[in-house]
Amino acid sequence: MATDNILKNLILKVWRQASPKDKGKFVTYTIQNVSTGSSFFEMLDLLNDDLIRKGDEPVAFDHDCREGICGTCSLFINGKPHGPDNLITTCQLHMRKFKEGETITIEPWRSAAFPVMKDLIVDRNAFEKIIQAGGFVSVNTGGIPDANAIPIAHDAAEESMDAAQCIGCGACVAACKNASAMLFVAAKVSHLALLPQGKTEATRRAKAMVAKMDELGFGNCTNTGACEAECPKGISIANIARLNREFLVAKFQD
């Protein structure tokens, strides 16, 4: 392991908002003696520990696996979803990316489709609704042929896996000036459409998911590429092109 140092002082500007209706504001805190080997959340744990001992309210933030896979964590750090490092989630961000005395600004995702519930926690239920509209293969449990009955080309499986890696964190929406969910939808559509099992209902799936996305108030995609740049899993906007090319054309043919 790399040798850890101690950051003696950091200044945190944290978004505090008591409830969805509250207007919210930035509050500045200072924090001492953070190890560079600590994760960003371990730094926030330290802040909360301090706040609780002082009799203040700790900062609410979403987190669970703390290893970059569950997609629970969010946070806009110094103006970037999941902070300054690339291809990671906030929970994988480590304090060695920050400098002694630095001011760190911490905000929730900002998007009309993801309203703030408290402090840094947002409501991402809209993503659930999009998946429920069609983000699956319609098979019941049981009565399935042998797994090797349908060979699938190695590269198709790999390409599908590239898209399937999406963790549903919402960074793409947060990064987009239009608050579009196209990368999220396109990743799911691609994951399934690239496999023979998912191809059968691919068009129906794409249309249902896009219609739901529109209904929920996500913005339009204008190809800025910000989503791809901020995606912690490196999901490519080529998936959006595929969605447009293969499926949304069909929409106009109906």
Partner: protein, 646 residues
């Protein structure tokens, strides 16, 4: 022993499940519509059960504490899932998977359950492929496999280093489809805090809405607990921060037996602790032991030079490296089961050969694999794990070996269930990691995903019918029944009490202290004195907690501190029972290493005379010791032998 009804069918091992299914009651489609089932948990077990039950026609309400079912901690499983497909033609079979699992569990699980698990394993892979799980494939288009510890065949299916994620997305898709169809009602950000039992039957739960803080009542004809493991008793573990034991514990307090609570798995390959600010530990998948070689220096002077940073690990020549697993276990080498690998790492570190400043790390080296296979092959297999490692440790594992150390990972113990996966409370079922059923004293790698999905897709949907068939004439229980009112009141009082302590110290302080007691005295190596002390230490800490914890805010709002406080309050009690169970089991087996019971070369020494049992703990009253009941383990098909991986 007559009070234990494990309901294991008679007949030959290979026929038991088939026969049993033929005898199980079936509920008609029209009647299924009249029956309500609560499923708590949306990991592989809960999501697969919810969708399968809803497809059958039951009305399902499903709970999870995260904001989406897809975030259940099954998502973090990396390495893979076992099945006895024998696609590799390496002489695998249902019988071999059964044997490996029984042996891996050190002969402390039920033959019949394990055989059934092996039997349905193949269906799981078929199901997942149909759902669109992008498993790794050969160039010919067929499914690829890798090897895992404790087995000599290649039977592990995988999707890069994200197998759990992909399987969960499959099950989550199936669940979401049912939510869209209106057959499953989904309650995300809801935490179960009590079980409601009416006339001895499980009839519902009390859950806290984690957004509003409201305490709510939910009723049903049956309740399924699929809430995962309780490894977070140790504070530091590979579990998610929110993983908890509260559903199990509240069920226990309502009369459900908890079995083998001391059986926890310590995973050999986790990223070592960096310091006091550490909040959780990250696993590096067991699959890495396929291609990585574990070593520490042979010479103490190299250890010292490493610690000083005077030399890089890669500069230590091969002849000065002690590949201690290959040395001690030539047959299985780096692929010995987890408990064996963990203890071997501890042995080297205790002997002073730990390779980092804390002395608590060994190397896992890919130099040899990269030489043999090329960097691109290694990258394709483990790229995401290497990236994860580099982000945490700030070391590039393509160039220098990883540092690893054992950490708490999985709990084999859990709610006692019979062959139908029903607890001793009628109508209360437990599936996945939350039950005790299939892994004995040590779980083999890639078998938890298999068990969670076996339970949810292919066992519970059949066995629950046996119970529910008797319920068709009964209306959905009324949530105004006095049992619901009392349970709700009890939860609210517990929560209010915590808030009103208004002490000095945050919840995490107590949780960390508890973790230290557990790790030092009920961890990788245990003895009578340590566990007796642990019980005492925990009692003191618990009483200090109830006097001096500070939980800010209110119950009736989004309040992450009250969430934690409720969980930690249960962890003290779970920890105590774990120590008691470990104390009671005066033999070593699997992950339970009693210093009083070891072979000459320091391996676990089972004592089948006294140890062939499942412990069932029954809650008495708050100040009365729990009662231990033993379910004898009867082996009709397997000959018990000392495990040897030499």
């Amino acid at each position: 022993m007559s009070q234990i009804q494990s309901n294991i069918p008679s007949g030959p091992l290979t026929e038991k499940w088939t026969q049993h299914k033929a005898n199980l009651k079936v509920v008609s489609p029209a009647n299924k519509r009249k029956l309500d089932v609560i499923v708590v948990g949306t990991g592989l077990a809960g999501a697969s059960a919810s969708s399968s039950l809803a497809e059958l026609g039951y009305n399902v309400t499903t709970f999870c504490y995260q904001d989406s079912p897809r975030r259940a901690h099954s998502v973090a499983a990396q390495g893979g899932i076992n099945a006895a497909k024998n696609y590799q033609n390496d002489n695998d079979s249902v019988y071999r998977l059964f044997m490996d699992t029984i042996k891996g569990g050190d002969y402390r699980s039920r033959e019949a359950n394990v055989y059934r698990l092996a039997e349905v394993s193949n269906l799981i892979i078929d199901q997942c492929v149909a759902q669109g799980v992008p498993f790794a494939r050969e160039y010919g288009g067929l499914l690829d496999n890798r090897s895992f510890g404790g087995s000599l065949v290649s039977r592990t299916f995988y999707a890069r280093g994200q197998t759990g994620q992909q399987l969960l997305i499959g099950a989550y898709g199936a669940l979401s489809r049912q939510v869209g169809l209106g057959t499953v009602k989904l309650e995300t950000r809801h935490e179960m805090l009590d079980l409601v039992v009416i006339d001895g039957v499980a009839r519902g739960i009390i859950a806290r809405d984690m957004v509003t803080g409201e305490i709510k009542r939910y009723s049903a004809h049956a309740v399924v607990i699929a809430t995962g493991g309780y490894g977070n008793v140790f504070f530091l573990s590979t579990n998610a921060m929110g993983s908890n034991g509260s559903a199990m514990w509240q069920a226990y307090k309502k009369g459900a037996y908890v079995s083998n609570p001391s059986f926890v798995q310590i995973h050999p390959t986790c990223i070592p602790v960096h310091g006091d600010q550490q909040s959780k530990l990250t696993l590096m998948s067991e699959s890495l032991r396929n291609d990585g070689r574990v070593w520490v220096p042979k010479k103490m002077e190299d250890v010292e030079r490493l610690r000083k940073g005077a030399v890089k690990p890669s500069q230590i020549p091969d002849e000065d490296r002690d590949f201690y697993l290959e040395r001690r276990y030539p047959t299985y080498g780096n692929l010995v089961p987890r408990d064996v690998a963990s203890r071997a790492a501890k042995e080297r570190c205790d002997a002073g050969f730990g390779v980092n400043e804390t002395g608590k790390a060994v190397f896992l080296d890919f130099k040899y694999a990269i030489k043999r296979l090329g960097k691109s092959v290694v990258e394709a297999r483990y790229g995401n794990l290497f990236q994860m490692y580099e982000k945490i440790a700030d070391v590039n594992p393509y160039e220098e070996p990883m540092q690893i150390y054992p950490a708490i990972h999985y709990t084999m113990g859990g709610l006692w269930v019979d062959y139908n996966l029903m607890t001793n409370i009628p109508g209360l079922f437990a599936i996945g990691e939350a039950n005790f059923s299939d892994h004995g004293a040590n779980r083999l790698g890639a078998s938890a995903l298999m068990q969670g999905l076996a339970d949810g897709y292919f066992v519970l949907p059949y066995t629950i019918g046996e119970f529910l068939a008797g319920e068709i004439m009964k209306p959905k229980p009324d949530v105004n029944h006095e049992a619901f009112v009392a349970a709700e009141k009890d939860v609210l009082e517990r929560a209010e009490k915590l808030i009103n302590i208004k002490g000095e110290l945050p919840v995490d302080h107590f949780h960390k202290e508890l973790g230290k007691i557990m790790w030092n005295k009920v961890g990788m190596s245990r003895n009578e004195k340590g566990m007796t002390e642990a019980i005492d230490d925990i009692k003191k800490l618990k009483s200090e907690f109830w006097k001096n914890v500070r939980v800010p805010g209110k119950v009736g709002e989004l309040n992450q501190e009250i969430e934690k406080a409720m969980r930690v309050a249960d962890y003290f009690e779970i920890g105590e029972l774990m120590a008691l169970d470990g104390l009671e089991r005066n033999e070593s087996c699997g992950g339970h290493f009693r210093e009083e019971s070891v072979t000459e070369d320091g391996e676990t020494l089972r004592n089948d005379e006294i140890g062939c049992y499942v412990s069932l703990w029954q809650h008495k009253d708050v100040n009365v010791a729990p009662q231990l009941i033993k379910e004898p383990l009867i082996f009709e098909n397997v000959e018990l032998s000392q495990r040897s991986y030499k």
